[in-house]
Amino acid sequence: GGHEVKMGVILGFTGPIESLTPDMAAAAELAMKEASDSKMLLDGKVIVPVRGDSTCTDAAAASAAAEKLITSDGVVAIMGADCSGVTTAIANNVGVPNGVTMISPSATSPALTTIEDKGFFFRTAPSDARQGQVLAEVLKDRGITEVAVTYTNNDYGKGLSDAFATAFTANGGKISISAAHEDGKADYSAEVGALAASGSKHLAVFGYVDQGGKGIIQTSLDTGAFDQFILADGMIGESLIEAIGADLNGTIGTLPGSESEGAAKFKEVATAGGLAKNDGPFMPESYDAAALMILAMQAAGSTDRAAIQAKVMEVANAPGEKILPGELAKALEILKNGGQVDYEGASNVTFTEVGEAAGSYKELEVKDGKFATVKIR
């Protein structure tokens, strides 16, 4: 109807990361619901989320899904996609040509920084290049000079491990072995065997929390190969601790965002909103991506696709009133009255000039079976 506006949610609901995406979508839809319920969006418009399946791997199917969302459902903007490969394909083949804003919560490949997006592509997840440096610093500060590295064999894992290796060796560290692992495979004893043979005490795992990464940690602990782990963002999640338990104590890791009120706030909001989880990987980023699209629309005062794109940067960055999760109503109100907002959200959103999160990171450590923030970097 006249007061409905459609927004696309394109994630890999089937395929290798199908276990992550329902929560991500739920987080994004939570933001949409929040805005709709506030009755404040463009004179009380209601946002109808439309899901599309990116499959995470199949560029052709992902493009087709995006094509349908954009040209058939007429979504005004897209929250997505997830994996870097399909995200690039959708942006190049469908999103940008049709002038539709896309905000990805999880495509972290450094290559996405430089695609020709005409300003239509944003991401609330920072490029992996940054995280690699942060991790290297963390290790340096803790005096760890030698690690074995395993990464999930995709653009995220490979890119991150490249960035980390560069920074770590520059700091004088030594990588004793760097071994890829494929997600979703049956057995990781070969990888762990090779990693253990390197003789390092620490194992850095750049993978996904309920994918191969978990298998690697499980196998390492079982065989006694490693008991000290260093994790990147994809590996951080309560479910890891649930699955593995106390053995994880002492593990360190980094996660984009800050222990700002934002992150805590998001958990509250998510719990209140009845979501199954409140801290899954990329859930905060998903919430933020959706929120940004909504606020940009409000700032533009129209559902026009180009107008939305023009306002994203404005609402994401200073100046303006800081906005946290759960405060969308407030933000909409301010914007409606011609004011300015600086959306902080759950993941401390600040966009660089190419429209991606600049990235502050939390340094985490597992203590007493919980991820605890040690420091913000």
């Binding site: 399946d53 791997t57 199917a61 058939s72 064999n153 009845g274 026009d304």
Partner: protein
């Protein structure tokens, strides 16, 4: 279902056209064309598989590998060379290539010249092992140098910088070359054993593409490949194109003035540009499809086709009737693979990027097989139809699944557990629908929608 032969083909293709038109009308013409383009590519792949299985009964489950070879061709043909990378390690790679050739030649020489026995095998083993380490010693530093060259955005040698459309041909050649090699090695295997061997070899190919970053950038993907057709953004900026659009959509613009007109025109130009680009692809792909199909039809109806079907039925007897079974198998294996390679290159061209992790057996091997079997193996038009139908379902099962769940949950209370669960699971309807349609089609048309025709020459 009583229609036979050509009228049946006309009938089912008409239905397919109607399905596509329905999508065009009710969803959008852009969606319709994007589905159609992939239908055509799928049809070409299915033809390739049909040549191997339908004609000759060769159980190739390595389709994925050949499609990926086409993709590599697209990248190697169209990307400009990276001079810094060449400077860093180009020589080393070439050197390693030359060394490999030399080691291979040495082994070949030993195989041909030495008398067989324990010593011979030992010598071969030593030469191979020594050669391996020698090659690695040249190759590894070169690879490291290349991959260290700006890894975030390059880190590979690049390609030839030629127009990408050449890659369709080159993709065919790559696939044919590898198929020749595989065929020489593995075609002696029968049925399922050949299947698992080809599957294995395709996994090896994909692993290589994922991990030899100097050549393909590996899992970091190569994006932004050239196009053989204009870019939407170019068109959107072009006055001439705007003029066309204005003419074409004149009815839509009628009576509008000022801002309203500009907005509508702008949207029309955007829509028109997407449509135009897709139509260009459709034209190119159709040309390839028709050419391949024509050659297939002529071949199958000829004495060659008869000989090949005879071999499929009974190899022992065909050999006794003077047919060189091995040669024919190799030829067919190469031809079919080349066709898949061509389609693979076309697909990568359409995607505009090469992503090795996209090559999953489910999507690139089994789905193509399903196309051939559902369409009707041994029948060229059947394979083409299978390509169209299955791709269509593969894409449309998703929205249909969502819609279906929407309908089912309509009556339920908002926010109830069951409703949320069902809506969240809607994506899995895609698989169920896909499977159900497949099973139904195969159930009621056992030989496929267009079964192999008895080439009744009576």
């Amino acid at each position: 279902m009583t229609l036979q032969g050509n009228s049946r083909a006309v009938f089912v293709f008409t239905i397919m056209a109607v399905l596509l038109l329905i999508v065009g009308y009710f969803q959008s013409w852009n969606v319709m064309l994007s589905i159609l383009n992939l239908c055509i590519i799928s049809a070409i792949m299915a033809l390739g598989v049909n040549i191997q299985w339908g004609y000759a009964g060769l159980f190739n489950v390595g389709i994925m590998g050949f499609a990926a070879l086409g993709g590599v061709a697209a990248l190697l043909v169209s990307k400009p060379p990276v001079p810094t990378a060449w400077a860093a390690g180009g020589l080393g790679i070439l050197g390693a290539g030359v060394l490999t050739a030399m080691v291979a030649a040495a082994i070949w020489f030993i195989v041909k010249r030495m008398r067989s026995g324990g010593t011979k095998n030992a010598v071969i083993f030593i030469v191979a092992l020594g050669g391996y380490f020698l090659i690695r010693s040249v190759y590894d530093p070169a690879v490291n140098a290349i991959e260290a060259d700006n890894p975030a955005s390059s880190g590979y040698l690049g390609g030839l910088g030629l127009p990408i459309i050449f890659s369709w041909f080159v993709g065919g050649l790559f696939a044919a070359g590898i198929a020749w090699f595989i065929g020489k090695v593995a075609l002696g295997l029968r049925s399922d054993y050949l299947a698992i061997a080809t599957l294995g070899i395709s996994e090896i190919l994909i692993a290589t593409m994922k991990n030899e970053d100097w050549l393909t950038r590996g899992v970091k993907n190569v994006t932004g490949l050239d196009r053989p057709v204009p870019y939407e953004l170019q068109l959107q900026e072009s006055e001439v194109f705007a003029g066309w659009v204005e003419w074409f959509f004149s009815s839509r613009l009628e009576g509008l003035t000022g801002d309203a007109r500009t907005t509508v025109l702008r949207d029309a130009v955007i829509e028109g540009s997407s449509l135009f680009v897709k139509l260009c692809y459709t034209g190119l792909f159709t040309a390839v499809l028709l050419a391949v199909l024509a050659l297939c039809v002529l071949a199958l109806a000829s004495p060659w086709g008869r000989m090949v079907r005879a071999i499929r039925d009974n190899e022992v007897s065909a050999a006794a009737m003077g047919k060189n079974v091995t040669r024919r198998h190799l030829q067919i294996f190469i031809l079919g693979s080349a066709v898949v390679g061509i389609a693979g290159a076309m697909l990568t061209t359409l995607d505009g990027q090469f992503t090795p992790s996209t090559y999953q057996p489910l999507r690139y091997t089994f789905l193509i097989w399903v196309m051939v079997i559902v369409g009707g193996s041994g029948n060229n038009l059947g394979a083409v139809f299978g390509g169209f139908l299955i791709w269509f379902i593969w894409i449309e099962a998703e929205p249909v699944g969502n819609w279906f769940m929407g309908v089912v949950t309509q009556g339920m209370e908002d926010g109830s557990w069951l409703r949320t669960h069902l809506l969240d699971s809607a994506q899995h309807m895609r698989l169920i629908i896909m499977g159900a349609v497949m099973l139904l089609v195969m159930r009621f048309s056992p030989g496929g929608v267009l079964p192999e025709r008895q080439q009744s020459q009576a």
